[in-house]
Structure formats: structure tokens, C-alpha cells
Symmetry: C2
Subunit: 150 residues, 2 copies
């Protein structure tokens, strides 16, 4: 019998489908009217969450390529939303940080982000939401684990 | 106090992060060596799962725009992996279906897709996997629900 892939039972499919809906909703309800798209929003959210970061760290947090991040940062600098500065910790390092304008913008979008999460998880109990997060964190660990050296 | 977005607790972030890792792994382990990328793979997987489909149905199943699907189908036709045919049900409808070459290719990739799901969910019990799928399906329903008319 040939191999079958039942999409309705296939986790990568179910995850992509929810992820796409979340992006569509957030773009429609929060980003419309700003000059942000989902990728630039993710960069700003990472900087808001973690403070000034090197481009390589932003790439790691947002699951994007360093080359993509570099392009997005250039755009965000032009929009007056981030600045590139020497790190206070190491003078040889350049870090990216939010401008006050971006901080205000992110603060305006965060409540919409929380409302989206609430709408998406309606009908799930507090325990079910916690279990879901734990399962997703475990999956991420599993997928990040490097293969042992041969 | 300003609004905060703790990414480590924010479901859309956790979902995007796992989704990105799954795409990276599948691209590396299954698609490298084929001429497919993740988007064309998703089209083939949808057709393998459901049989001949209209482009609008492929867009719905894969969470992609119809215009994107149209472009991908043109590419897949050129690669000899799908064909456009008159529907057997309605002569006015065009459906897309896998060629025998694509059927063989998808059958070769499906076991790798299943192995990826197993690797990603290592350490989760059968019940935890079922709960995770149920929660993701519920989220998708919540997000698909149209707003009631005013």
C-alpha cells in the first residue's frame, strides 16, 4: 500500500494552518494602517521583549535569516523605528534598538496582539493553553537539538 | 505601566517558531535534491491528500493566496508534476491533478514527512500529541469563524 499523508492529522500542516491564520488576522487588525508587515513587526516585538540586540540575535529570535534581518533593519532605520548603536558592553559590537517612536507604536499594538491570542484560544481552558505552550516549547527543543557528532 | 509582550509566553510566537523549524528541517532533509520548495511541496501534498482540486480549493487547504497558487501550478505543470484537466463532475470546471511522476515523488517524501513529525514530537505522549492537535484544530476554527453580520 502506498504511503499516505493525512493532512488533517499531520502536525506540521495543522501548525502552518494556524500560523497563517494568525498572520492574516494580525496583519488585518493591527498592522493595516501602520507601515509594518509581519516581518518588521516581528523584529520590533523581539527588540521590545529583549532590549537592544545584535542582528544575529534578532535572526535567532525571529527564525529569520541574518541577510533578511539586515534588509529589514535598513528599512526600519529609514522609517525612524530603530537605530544602530555601539553596544555599551563591547565597543566593537553594533546593536539595534527601538526609537521612542517605535516604542510608542509597539505599545499601541501589544494589546491587539493579546486580544488576538485570546480570540484564537477561545474555548481552551487555562490548563489546555498551558499544555499547548509546553508542547510547542518541547517541539522547538526537539527541532533545535543538533545531531550528535558521528 | 506600559503593555508588555513576553514572547516566551505568546502563542503566535511559539507557533511561528516551531513552524519555521519544521520548514527548515523538511527543506533540508526531504526537499534538497528535488526541485521543490516548501510551497510547491504543500500543493502536491494537498493534491495527494484530496485528489484533483480546483485552484481555489488548493489555496484554501494550503493557506496561500489564489494568485500564488496560480503561479505555483504553472511552475508545477512545467516540471511535469501536475496537469490541468476538465473536471469529471462539471465540464466548465478546471481541476489540477498529480501526474504519475508526482505521485511517485510524493510517495517517496511522505515517509520523511512522518519521520519529521515523530522527531518533532519526541517526549510527548500519545495523549499529549492528540491534545496538541485538538487545540490547534480549535484555534483554526476560532480564527476561521466569520464575524456575525452587524
Amino acid at each position: 500500500m502506498p504511503a499516505r499523508l493525512d493532512l488533517t492529522e499531520y502536525l506540521p500542516y495543522l501548525i502552518n494552518r494556524v500560523g497563517s491564520s494568525l498572520v492574516a488576522r494580525f496583519s488585518e487588525h493591527a498592522l493595516a494602517g501602520t507601515r509594518l508587515d509581519i516581518a518588521t513587526w516581528r523584529v520590533l516585538a523581539a527588540l521590545s521583549h529583549r532590549g537592544p540586540l545584535r542582528q544575529i540575535d534578532i535572526a535567532e529570535i525571529t527564525s529569520m535569516e541574518v541577510s533578511t534581518i539586515s534588509r529589514l533593519i535598513t528599512r526600519l532605520v529609514q522609517m525612524g523605528l530603530v537605530s544602530r548603536n555601539r553596544s555599551r558592553l563591547s565597543n566593537r559590537e553594533v546593536v539595534v534598538e527601538l526609537t521612542p517612536k517605535a516604542t510608542a507604536l509597539v505599545e499601541r499594538l501589544i494589546p491587539i496582539a493579546h486580544k488576538l491570542e485570546d480570540a484564537a484560544t477561545q474555548g481552551l481552558s487555562k490548563k489546555e493553553r498551558a499544555d499547548l505552550k509546553r508542547a510547542l516549547r518541547r517541539m522547538h527543543e526537539n527541532l533545535s537539538r543538533r545531531k550528535p557528532p558521528p
